[in-house]
């Protein structure tokens, strides 16, 4: 069965419409159910003592006094936890040479970053558990720290894990073409060093877990704020020595994640281990301070980039040398080499050139571990690429739009393989740029800029074309040995009242997964969207799947839901045809009714069909299939990833006396293939842009030379707030993937991928008459003034 999604007048046309999310109503009523809202009988709370040193030998942990604190029930050291929980090593076979050390849920012998758990106190309340922490007498032997990634590989630098032999965890060099020759003979070569600030996700709901172990059933049930319940099921089973079938992960409402909650965290695994040891429910909810110190960080990169262009502005080659520090461990199980690997994969991605060299060097350091965070590697690669393209344009006297026009991969050139060997099925860089220029009214904007400059007001326009990797196949993780499903499934069931329940392996963290699925299932089956209930986030009831990350929910989970919905419709029509003595081909389901396909005349409501099937099956023909449940799975296979594309523009004003930046407006045109719900997609883009703005202007985990995180609180770590954010205009070009009927690619990371580059280029456009340039994020007022020479470097 198929469906004409391109025809807006088709029946049941929910796909493509801005339908409000069905789960929004409970959230505005304060009736969401997040992990911390769940209370179980005999529940206890755990809090963790965290290393105050970036690198230290743990000499002794005396828990005697802590055990005397009112409310404290038990105290666990690393050795205690290690008896119930095996350590892990986060490597992937396809990332050749990647190495990491065994990591314990609670540190044993050595602490390697400020914030690493070194002991756990279980008490009858969180407050009492913290009282217990305060009473632990822990002694450490502080060791020399590794904080500067530039010197992490130097001969005199201490080894964080001596057994690894060095502090290098991964290196990859990609070369295509005669790079040195091209650079040697190029008309112009421009180069720059870029830095992206180490930052973190700051989910408003902190990481949260409630683990309950039933000894009589041998069953671990985990309420978890996570993006990947099935992956966590595997992890808990493996490291707590339980059969996978005896682990159930339930994921209710999740208060934001953005990649932060797709990783394995030592304190969360320790919580589950303690539940197993104690045989009772144990809750851990990170507070804000420990969130900053123990959530994964990301984007700690320094990149040297060079671009070679000819006289006409054609890009000839790109040469990228990326260095990133990932903390003391590669993060389990996705590893911390992916971000650097993405920088190699994505630099230059929008452009038509074939000579490319890129190297990433991934080193260990005594800071919080880094791992995949929204738009993994994209903001870095886009900033470097777009920064270099703008600099090349400046060197050639070209308008930034013109150099992009001359170099973006032509819209009719697909399929296209990039210099990084990424395969693109179909992108729309030029159509997107055209649309963006119309939206921003480029000429008027330049005129406004010129007029402002006459008044001494420095405004800038910045562009950023980008690609986004979505819908990953097993080539992302599975091929490397990680038990992370690239396939996803959906089971759709019709109940006697004609309503439909759909269970999906992808998960909801606020982006609208359940709304999107409800629309697709409603259209697939042919019922009003109000008749569809969605169930996600329960390993015991949903089809096995990967969850929601890498912008895979709509493209993969959505296609499985569409196919399952259509399959259920076929099953319904077989039964209806028998009841109505018609051919299934002559019937259809629309708006909850079996209808005549040709005339659209209603023949029978679905609740009547349900009544007969479930309660008067005796009246149906013997042997008639009566399956009102259908399950379908989907996995991408033609391409390892479904790439999307887009372009952003920023208009801003720089106060050159103070270095302050005022964002005036922001635009994005993006192409995520089939848009299922325009409103939800636009809101993904807007939220993503603001997260990108955070990285560009505000957010940075500031460490001192001893590895102390200096701004581990929300007053000092600056996140974007409403007053400073611009209004954002979003537009779309739709190039559906032909791999699936739905045609959807991902949309969750495009905003974050492009925004920092657009902001950077806009700042530099504003500063250009003053011969100043910034390339180090975040672009703080002080860095602006330093670039201007107003204050000394």
């Amino acid at each position: 069965m198929t469906i004409a999604l391109g025809n807006p007048d088709r029946p049941n046309s929910y796909i493509g419409r801005s339908v409000p999310r069905p789960n929004a109503g409970k959230l505005v009523a304060g009736a969401g159910r997040y992990v911390d809202d769940v209370v179980l009988p005999r529940m206890v709370h755990v809090a963790f003592l965290r290393s105050p040193h970036a690198r230290a030998r743990i000499e002794a942990i005396d828990v005697t006094a802590a055990l005397e604190v009112p409310g404290v029930i038990r105290v666990f050291t690393g050795a205690d936890i290690a008896e119930a929980c095996t350590p892990w090593v986060a490597v992937l076979a396809h990332l050749k040479g990647l190495k990491s050390a065994p990591q314990h849920a609670v540190a044993v012998d050595h602490a390697t970053w400020v914030g690493e758990p070194v002991a756990a106190v279980v008490a009858d309340s969180r407050a009492a558990a913290e009282d217990g922490l305060a009473a632990i007498e822990a002694s450490f032997d502080p060791l020399p720290v590794v904080v500067d990634m530039r010197s992490a590989l130097d001969a005199g630098t201490p080894l964080i894990h001596p057994e690894l032999g060095d502090n290098l965890t991964f290196q990859r060099l990609h070369e295509k073409g005669e790079i040195d020759a091209v650079f040697a003979s190029a008309h112009k070569v421009v180069e720059a060093r870029f830095k992206t600030g180490r930052h973190t996700g700051v989910c408003l709901e902190p990481r949260s877990i409630l683990a309950d172990y039933s000894r009589s059933e041998g069953q671990l049930t985990v309420y978890h704020s996570t993006q990947a319940p099935h992956m966590m099921q595997t992890v808990f089973a493996k490291h707590l020595d339980l059969p996978e079938a005896k682990v159930r992960v339930i994921c209710g409402d999740v208060g934001g994640s953005y990649g932060i909650k797709v990783h394995v965290y030592p304190d969360e695994v320790a919580t589950a281990a303690i539940a197993k040891i104690m045989g009772r429910p144990v809750k851990f909810v990170a507070d804000r301070l420990e969130s900053f110190a123990s959530d994964i960080h990301a984007r700690d990169h320094e990149i040297d980039g060079r671009i070679a262009v000819d006289e006409t502005g054609r890009i000839l080659a790109l040469d990228i040398d990326d260095l990133t520090g990932i903390g003391p461990y590669s993060v389990y199980p996705r590893t911390s080499a992916i971000e650097g690997n993405q920088v190699v994969n994505l630099c230059g991605g929008p452009y038509d050139f074939q000579t490319y060299r890129a190297r990433t060097t991934v080193v260990l350091q005594n800071k919080a571990p880094t791992c995949q965070y929204r738009a993994v590697g994209h903001p870095i690669a886009t900033a470097v690429t777009e920064g270099l393209v703008d600099m090349a344009a400046e060197a050639l006297g070209l308008d930034p739009v013109e150099i992009r026009r001359r170099n973006l991969v032509p819209d009719d050139a697909y399929p296209y393989t990039s210099a990084a060997n990424m395969r693109f099925e179909g992108l729309s860089h030029h159509a997107s740029l055209d649309k963006l220029l119309a939206m921003i009214d480029y000429d008027a904007l330049r005129a406004d800029q010129a007029e402002a400059r006459k008044r001494g007001v420095h405004r800038g326009i910045g562009f950023a074309s980008f690609i986004e990797l979505t819908n990953p196949s097993p080539f992302m993780y599975g091929i490397g040995g990680a038990r992370i499903s690239a396939q996803d499934g959906c089971t759709v069931r019709m109940d006697p009242d004609g309503s439909v329940v759909a269970m999906s392996g992808v998960t909801e963290q606020g982006q609208g997964t359940e709304g999107m699925l409800a629309q697709i299932v409603a259209e697939g089956v042919g019922v009003p969207v109000s008749k569809v209930r969605i169930i996600t986030g329960d390993t015991q009831t949903t089809p096995y799947g990967g969850g929601t990350w890498a912008s895979r929910g709509a493209g993969i989970g959505g296609e499985a839901a569409l196919q399952a919905g259509l399959a259920l419709r076929e099953n319904i029509l077989v039964i209806a045809a028998s009841m109505l003595q018609a051919s299934p081909d002559a019937l259809d389901v629309a708006d909850g009714q079996v209808v005549d396909k040709a005339t659209r005349e209603a023949r029978m409501p679905l609740e009547e069909l349900g009544r007969i099937v479930y309660f008067r099956g005796d009246t149906l023909a013997k042997g008639l299939p009566r399956e009102l449940v259908a399950t379908r799975h989907y996995i991408t296979s033609d391409y390892p990833f479904a790439f999307t594309n887009g372009v952003q523009a920023s208009y801003l004003e720089v106060d050159v006396e103070t270095g302050f930046i005022k964002l005036l407006k922001h635009w994005c045109v993006e192409d995520c293939g089939r848009v299922i719900n325009p409103m939800l997609v636009d809101e993904q883009i807007r939220g993503g842009i603001v997260q990108g703005i955070g990285g560009a202007l505000y957010e940075e985990c500031v460490y001192d030379g001893e590895g102390q995180l200096l701004n581990a609180n929300m007053a000092d770590y600056l996140v974007p707030m409403a007053a400073e954010m611009p209004d954002m205009i979003i537009g779309h070009v739709e190039t559906p993937t032909r791999e699936s009927l739905l045609g959807a690619k991902g949309a969750g990371e495009a905003g974050t991928a492009g925004a920092p580059a657009a902001i950077m280029n806009a700042i530099n456009d504003a500063l250009r008459p003053l011969n100043a340039r910034v390339t180090q994020m975040p672009f703080t007022p002080e860095r602006i003034l330093t670039a201007l020479g107003t204050i000394p470097h």
Binding site: R21, L204, P206, G255, M679, E683, N713
Partner: protein
């Protein structure tokens, strides 16, 4: 005077219009009191430092940070949470606009955001967008980028003032 300081305090107050009497730990802040003692889990603690605004609730007619208010201080107070104002229907129009414009994603900031926004609803004139942004500038939302929230508040205030209501945003086609 002997030991005037107590570690637990009896308080009588009204929460969402209902009388409540409890012994509370002096160290318990209002959000933990609401969540743990009364089961009102709609209010959230996001930073416990007064910065993020997730804990914003209404005490004696004005919004406060629930994490910076001790329950012990609230003897005789009149406290309203998102559950209460939902029940009375006081902000039903605002909640409808939040849903219609997708002014929430994960929903964790939403209760605090709604109570903060509610202070603007009974103004004589519809506030400008910049004023709305300033008013909610103490409420952190990581998901939306704020624009839809501003839209929803703008639409609700406009409707209450009898002004034209801005249309739902559609992508530039």
């Amino acid at each position: 005077m002997t030991a005037p300081f107590s570690q637990s305090v009896e308080i009588s107050l009204k929460v969402n219009g209902e009388r409540v009497r409890r012994m509370v730990d002096a160290r318990r802040h209002l959000i933990d009191f609401l969540r743990l003692d009364l089961g009102l889990t709609g209010s959230h603690a996001g930073c416990e430092q007064g910065v993020c605004g997730a804990c914003t609730v209404r005490v004696d007619g004005t919004i406060v940070r629930g994490c910076l208010t001790l329950a012990a201080q609230l003897d005789g107070a009149d406290v309203w949470t998102v559950e209460g104002v939902t029940e009375t229907g006081e902000i039903a129009d605002l909640q409808d606009e939040f849903v219609a414009r997708n002014a929430l994603q994960c929903g964790y900031c939403t209760p605090g955001m709604l109570l903060t926004a509610a202070e603007l609803l009974n103004a004589d004139a519809a506030p400008a967008r910049a004023h709305i942004r300033e008013h909610i500038s103490g409420n952190y939302c990581r998901c939306t980028g704020y624009e839809a929230i501003v839209d929803a508040i703008e639409a609700t205030t406009a409707r209450r003032c009898g002004m034209p209501v801005p249309a739902l945003k559609e992508a530039a086609e």
